[in-house]
């Protein structure tokens, strides 16, 4: 039950934070900077409360699979993307992109089939070839230097 209500509770939480941020410019005049954001918070509260009530009353409204095993795969992908962004400015485009594409390709493939030498070789070719050609394209043709 808690999992089903979680999206609405998260949204209410975020919008409470958003409302809290308005405290310095709080003004109830229609033409003020705070009016429409406040209206948006009010709309969000009302809509989410309606959804919570509907989920509590009507079982068909419940989402049975909010988090699945597939979301764990997403966590790994996210970890790789975060690392890639972090590494990009430090090690440059070619090195960071090559590692990123290689790891993601192997991870993606490993979910379907066992990893073999052929895959490793083709992954290495793609993961080095693609970033190098992009780097060359931007540097030489579009005249934009990548990090």
């Amino acid at each position: 039950m808690f999992l089903n209500l979680l999206p609405n509770l998260i949204l209410i939480g975020f919008f409470s934070l958003y409302f809290w941020e308005l405290k310095d410019i709080m003004n109830y005049e229609v033409t003020s900077s705070a009016f429409l954001p406040m209206l948006s918070v009010l709309v969000m509260y009302i809509l989410n409360i309606i959804q919570i009530i509907r989920k509590l009353i009507n079982k068909s409204e419940q989402i049975k699979t909010l988090f699945t095993k597939d979301d764990l795969y997403l966590l790994i992908v996210l970890f790789l993307v975060i690392t890639y962004i972090w590494v990009l400015s430090r090690f440059g485009f070619i090195i960071s992109s090559s590692f990123f594409i290689f790891l993601l390709t192997v991870f993606w493939r490993s979910r379907r089939k066992p990893i073999d030498v052929g895959l490793l070789i083709s992954s290495i070719i793609v993961s080095i070839g693609f970033p190098v050609s992009i780097f060359y394209f931007f540097g030489q043709i579009v005249k934009i230097n990548l990090p």
Partner: protein, 495 residues
């Protein structure tokens, strides 16, 4: 006439035609590949378009759009997997023809219908847009506010299955648009202690995160197993297919009109147009018994209508500055980064670009035809591109594209956060078009709404006393009533 000639001169340059061709090719590949949408294609191409001249950029994006909408029908017909959501209706009759061994013919029919629709949409835009722009020049704050309310409500009501979810998505979009400087008073608000948020969230990281990265995340977790079509599909001569266009000319004309009307409505896209067109074709056909068994007329109806939308969707964008769907929102972003502000004044101040867009739409339909005459036999092979190489490269392109905009790592974090948000919103079936349109139209709405009230000294009465403003408010209520009634009837019939 002067502006038309100036537009023609700008278009008829090697680089513009070259980018139109490149765009058509990219759109073709993206459209064929199941799982990749035209929205993803234009979103990924947007950062590259920043480094091009305005019409070169538009040529690239229009090429992807028009060609992608058609190419989605290839995998829909041959594999029964619509390459794009717009091709879902085409899969119904198209795949039945493939099962009868007429897949090649079905794809050819889809091609010539798409070309007819593309040209129809371009002609409609050419004649209708200037008329609306002439009227729209006279609109003041009150009228624009009411039009924006109508457009936003249209998107909210039409997108997705649940109006509540659509409203929540729109509220999130609007709230995100309020971060940073207040567009009216200049007061800094809602920065959450992050100095970089003073300038607000840029449109491009938002687009790439919500419509690029989140879509790829979905594909990662979906574990798509793509069927490979038979390499033995025979494509008959394209010219022998023209007889169907002549035979079903009434369906072509009707579908073009449906495409024009639906495309000009905010929120409804090519997918809606093709479904309505299919049901209308079936209803008024002389051979209704052929529908459901692989009817050529069905493919003509769906493909003509969805490609007409490619042109007619520009009508609200160019005349009122209101994007009707996600793709025209991306186009709006491309126009704005090049200093072209969509709206009635664009016709007066930079009319040559408007004519340029008309010509580009027309040319892209023609190029699409000749391209496919050569490329169609290779279409089946495209579906065999291994996804394990494709998606990692696409993630890299999302990151690279976002980085290129301002060369700021902060934009990458924004894109990533919005990508994760988009992933969960998609999974929970919150419509992203509502979020995006509210994000784009939000600041403009806030400015005109507050300026209206400054002018009227906080009175709402002028919204009801000005005829155009009243008209759009009434239209909003009528739309609301019709949609709510339809949902109520649907609910009643299921219970």
């Amino acid at each position: 006439m002067e502006k038309f000639l100036a537009g023609l001169e700008m278009i008829l340059q090697v680089k513009v035609i070259l980018f139109l061709g490149i765009g058509s090719l990219i759109g073709w590949v993206i459209g064929i590949l199941p799982g990749l949408t035209v929205t993803l294609g234009v979103t990924l191409a947007l950062p590259i378009s920043l480094f091009l001249q305005p019409l070169e950029a538009l040529a690239l994006l229009i090429g992807i759009y028009q060609s992608g909408v058609f190419a989605g029908s290839i995998s829909a017909i041959l594999l029964n997997i619509p390459g794009t959501p717009a091709a879902t209706a085409t899969a119904i009759e198209g795949n039945l023809m493939t099962r009868k061994g007429e897949g090649g013919l079905a794809v050819n029919v889809a091609l010539i219908s798409s070309v007819a629709g593309g040209i129809g949409g371009a002609i409609a835009l050419t004649f209708i847009a200037p008329l609306i722009a002439k009227i729209a020049v006279e609109f003041g704050f009150f009228e624009i506010t009411s039009i924006l309310i109508f457009a936003l409500m249209g998107v909210i009501l039409i997108s997705g299955d649940s109006i509540i979810k659509s409203l929540i998505a729109a509220s999130i979009g609007f709230s995100l648009s309020t971060l940073g400087l207040d567009p009216v008073s200049g007061i800094v608000r809602l920065t959450f202690g992050i100095p970089r948020l003073i300038a607000g969230i840029s449109l491009l990281p938002m687009l790439i995160g919500l419509f690029g990265l989140s879509e790829i995340f979905i594909q990662f977790t979906k574990f798509n197993k793509v069927k490979i079509a038979s390499d033995k599909t025979q494509f008959p001569s394209i010219f022998s297919t023209f007889k169907y266009l002549v035979k079903y000319y009434k369906t072509v004309v009707r579908s073009i009109f449906i495409g024009i009307f639906i495309g000009a409505l905010p929120g409804a896209g090519p997918g809606t147009a093709s479904f309505i067109s299919l049901s209308e074709a079936k209803r008024s056909s002389k051979e209704p018994e052929k529908f459901g068994k692989g009817a050529v007329e069905g493919i003509i109806a769906t493909e003509t209508a969805n490609n007409t939308v490619c042109g007619s969707a520009f009508i609200p964008l160019l005349t009122l500055g209101i994007p009707g769907d996600v793709i025209t929102a991306v186009m709006m972003g491309a126009l704005m980064v090049h200093g072209l502000r969509p709206g009635p004044m664009l016709f007066a101040k930079q009319g040559e670009y408007v004519f340029g867009i008309y010509i580009l739409l027309f040319l892209s339909a023609v190029i699409m035809f000749f391209f496919n005459c050569i490329l169609l036999p290779f279409a089946v092979k495209i579906t065999a591109i291994p996804s394990e190489y494709l998606y990692p490269v696409l993630v890299m392109l999302c990151i690279l594209g976002t980085f290129l905009i301002n060369r700021q790592i902060f934009d990458l974090w924004v894109m990533l956060v919005l990508g994760v948000l988009g992933y969960f919103l998609r999974k929970l079936k919150y419509p992203l078009p509502s979020l995006l349109l509210a994000f784009i139209l939000g600041p403009r709405f806030e400015v005109v709404f507050r300026q209206s009230l400054f002018v009227s000294k906080n009175s709402f009465l002028p919204f009801l006393t000005k005829p155009i403003s009243l008209l759009f408010l009434v239209l909003t209520f009528i739309t609301l009533f019709v949609v709510l009634r339809r949902k109520w009837l649907e609910k009643r019939s299921t219970t």
